[in-house]
Point group: C2
Chain length 119, copies 2
């Protein structure tokens, strides 16, 4: 039963595109990630996914449009929707998704993180 | 499918202790609330509850100690744990909890919000 300071947790890692788990509630994980560049197009069959920008800017590209997020903004990608996170500079992002969620969704590849670390 | 800007949403209401729903995913609601003063002691039988401070300070009092949260800090109150949110000045808080969650948990009273509004 400890609080989580987001800035302190972000200071603990530098890897990009490797979400770290910082909390769990009701079958969901709270994750932090540093993102820069283009990710892979993917979707999650059974999981809605929330992206909250803590620092920087993040685009969520979808087939029918792009949502551009700045600090203090979030977007929920509904299950089944193809999407691709894209950033120009490094963005610090809080994600919320079921504990069953794989970062690359339906696409298994070199960017897949099978078992994210707890911070 | 729209993004949510937290500051814009907080600007839409001034009532304290009346959580507003701003998102839904995986059976959870994302809620925003303005809190000031002492709430009622209560617990949630089946719901873990996350409090993330967006602005100000928030104490989560529990029977065996208090967690003091500042901006950018969150705490998850596990189901079953008696707690009481307390603030001196107004705090702006993002909460995450199952859609079934009643703000006053096991205690029904004048501060209970039966059906929170969507913003």
């Amino acid at each position: 039963m400890e609080k989580v300071n987001l800035a302190d947790k972000f200071a603990l890692f530098s890897e990009q595109w490797k979400p770290k788990i910082v909390g769990e509630l009701n079958g969901q994980h709270v994750k932090l990630a540093k993102l820069q560049g283009d990710f892979v197009w993917h979707h999650h069959d059974n999981e809605d996914e929330l992206f909250l920008v803590i620092e920087g800017q993040l685009d969520i590209e979808m087939k029918d449009g792009t949502i551009s997020l700045s600090e203090g903004e979030f977007f929920i990608v509904p299950r089944g929707v193809e999407h691709r996170p894209v950033t120009r500079a490094e963005a610090h992002v809080l994600m919320l998704e079921p504990t069953t969620t794989l970062n690359t969704g339906n696409i298994q590849g070199e960017r897949t993180v099978e078992e994210p670390d707890w911070l």
